[in-house]
Structures are given as structure tokens and as C-alpha cells.
């Protein structure tokens, strides 16, 4: 059990310190090298699909209702690293039916925003980034402000008023998607903000994610994401051999040890 929870701990408990050191250093450094390479995101136990996955493959973070979940095959290898990979199971449990997109934030939102502003009913799109402040309004609406700059460096200020939707609180992406309506003089034309804000580390670390997030990781990190996944898979599979060694000794027995003095006399 110790060998499973922490690589090398089983051997340390048995007094085989050199081997414990080799296992701990090699396996944990391989695993965490993979984690650093992929910005701490290669480990996840489930892939999520939205309710309308066929028609809208990117709706898992914002789409309502329960999500279809599929096990990540890579996690079957990663889980053997033990404690470092176990948060993925806790996050999968947290990502249950109560983990729904929010129409109204529970607490006021003050965060860095990055995304686009849709004006004139979506005809004009402007890439913007800045600060967003949002708090519950009357009923299922929110009020707030956005202050930032456009892609050209032009200052942009907008009043948020109307409906909004925030991505699921627990989701395997550091970017939490958000959409909200902006105040508009023309009731026929909807102005919106669509983009992302930061999600707290404990809400995305090793959490289930959708293919859209995996696409983003592959787009951002390219081959490094695949290499990082391989590092974490191999670390887990190596610990599988270590667990067996702790349970049943070295595969070739103890033939490499020096013979005892008693046996020489005989």
C-alpha cells in the first residue's frame, strides 16, 4: 500500500533505502517533469461531453444539464503514481450533478477578462481585455462594469446589465468561460461580452475536461502536451513494477548478492 501511495515508500519501510531513493527520485521526477511541461494539466480522469455533443461539441463548460462522462485511458496508467494523481478522483467526484453553469454568480466577480465584445447584434466584434466586475442584480440578472482596452489599444468601457452565464465552477481548465449581456439603447440589438476569466487552481487542477480544452492545450503546447502525457503515463507504469518489487522482491531473486560465510564453509 505504501509503495502505491508514494513511489519508494514501500521499500523505505522495508529498509531497502537505496532502491527507495532510486524509485522515488526517478518516478516522481518523471511525473512532475510531465506536469511542468504541460502546465500541470496532463492528469485528468474523465473527458466530458455536452448534452448536445453531436451538434455542439464545445458546450461542456457552459451547456446546461448533466454531462456524459468517459474515462480517460491515460489515467489508468497515471493513477499508479499514487498520491500525486489521486486529486483527479476527488475532482471527478466534485464534478457531479450539482456542478452546473451559473446564471448568477454566488459572490461578486472581480477578475481579469479576455475575450470579445459583440456589438450591434453581433455584427461588430472587438477583441478586448481588461477588468470585469459583476454582481447579482434583480432576479436572474447581473449588473456590473467592464473596463479595458481593445486589440488596437483603444480604451473600452461597458455597462453589464442583463442575463449572464458562467462556466461550471469545477472544470479542468484554468480559463472559466463567461458570457454576459451589455446595456444597450436598442432593445432589438443585443450586445454581449464573451470570453474567459481565471478559475481558481483548486477548481481546475486535475479536474475532468472536454475536448475543447484538450484542443486548446494541444494548440498552445503542441507536441509538448503529448510528451508530458507520456512522461506521466510512464511514471505510473514504472511504479507498477515498483509495487510488485516491494511485494515480491526483485524479479531475478537475490542471486546478485555475495554468498554468506556459512555457505562457504559447507
Amino acid at each position: 500500500m505504501l509503495a502505491f501511495l508514494i513511489p519508494g515508500a514501500g521499500h523505505l519501510y522495508q529498509g531497502r533505502r537505496t532502491k527507495a531513493g532510486i524509485f522515488a527520485v526517478c518516478i516522481l521526477s518523471t511525473f512532475f517533469a510531465g506536469m511542468v511541461l504541460a502546465q500541470w494539466q496532463p492528469v485528468y480522469s474523465q473527458v466530458l461531453y455536452g448534452r448536445d455533443a453531436d451538434r455542439d461539441p464545445e458546450s461542456a463548460q457552459l451547456g446546461p444539464g448533466p454531462l456524459r462522462k468517459e474515462r480517460s485511458l491515460g489515467f489508468y496508467a497515471q493513477v499508479f503514481v499514487g498520491v500525486p494523481a489521486l486529486p483527479a478522483l476527488i475532482q471527478a467526484w466534485r464534478c457531479g450533478p450539482h456542478n452546473e453553469p451559473l446564471a448568477v454568480p454566488e459572490t461578486p466577480v472581480d477578475a481579469d477578462f479576455r475575450g470579445i465584445m459583440l456589438n450591434d447584434g453581433g455584427i461588430n466584434r472587438t477583441r478586448v481585455q481588461g477588468k470585469i466586475h459583476m454582481e447579482p442584480g434583480r432576479g436572474k440578472t447581473v449588473i456590473g462594469t467592464f473596463t479595458g482596452t481593445s486589440q488596437n489599444g483603444r480604451p473600452v468601457t461597458a455597462e453589464i446589465r442583463g442575463r449572464a452565464i458562467l462556466g461550471r465552477p469545477v472544470f479542468g481548465s484554468p480559463l472559466r468561460e463567461i458570457r454576459c449581456e451589455l446595456a444597450s439603447d436598442d432593445p432589438l440589438q443585443s450586445n454581449q461580452l464573451q470570453g474567459t476569466i481565471d478559475r481558481p487552481f483548486h477548481n481546475w487542477f486535475q479536474a475532468p475536461r472536454d475536448n475543447s480544452e484538450l484542443d486548446r492545450m494541444n494548440n498552445t503546447l503542441s507536441q509538448r502536451f503529448d510528451v508530458a502525457c507520456v512522461f506521466t503515463w510512464i511514471a505510473g507504469l514504472l511504479n507498477l513494477m515498483v509495487i510488485w518489487d516491494a511485494f515480491d522482491g526483485p524479479a531475478y531473486g537475490y542471486g546478485d548478492e555475495k554468498p554468506d560465510d556459512d555457505s562457504d564453509e559447507q
Partner: protein, 88 residues
């Protein structure tokens, strides 16, 4: 006023794919390293752990791990050479 939609749009895809904020967080030492060189630390790790599960004495472990590492490198170099030759 129409409510915010939850369907995917071209604009949303643009947000996700063009969002380069997190590329700034990559450590600089990982940037210029060709992918093939990640195989070296991985081979060292695999050799050491594999041989440590085969032998008990440290001298045997390190000697056999070194031999195994060299064999892996030679094997990978041959495969790399063959693949490079056929893709040339």
C-alpha cells in the same frame, strides 16, 4: 434582448484557439529543446527503475542500468536513422 447563447460560435473558437496567455507561463528552458531529447531523461529513468526491480545490490543496479541506457540509445538512434532515411 436575446439571452446569451450557449451554442458554439466562430467567435468562441477564436477565443480558445488564439488565447496565448498561458504560453507565457512556459518555462524558458523547455522552449528550445527538440522533442527527441526528452527521450534521454526518460530513458535514464526507465533504465534505473527497471534494473532496480531486477537486482538488489546497488552496484548491479547501476551497472546494468548504464548498459541498458546505452542499448536504448543505440536502438533509438538506429530506428531514428532508418526512419530519417526513408522520409528523406
Amino acid at each position: 434582448m436575446a439571452p446569451p447563447t450557449v451554442t458554439a460560435t466562430k467567435s468562441r473558437t477564436m477565443i480558445l484557439t488564439n488565447n496565448d496567455r498561458h504560453t507565457n507561463g512556459i518555462h524558458s528552458w523547455t522552449q528550445p529543446m527538440p522533442t527527441i531529447f526528452y527521450a534521454i531523461p526518460l530513458s535514464v529513468s526507465i533504465s534505473l527503475v527497471y534494473c532496480a526491480t531486477r537486482y538488489e545490490m546497488p552496484s548491479c543496479i547501476f551497472r546494468s542500468a548504464a548498459a541498458m541506457f546505452v542499448k536504448i540509445l543505440i536502438g533509438m538512434t538506429i530506428i531514428y536513422g532508418v526512419l530519417s532515411f526513408f522520409s528523406w
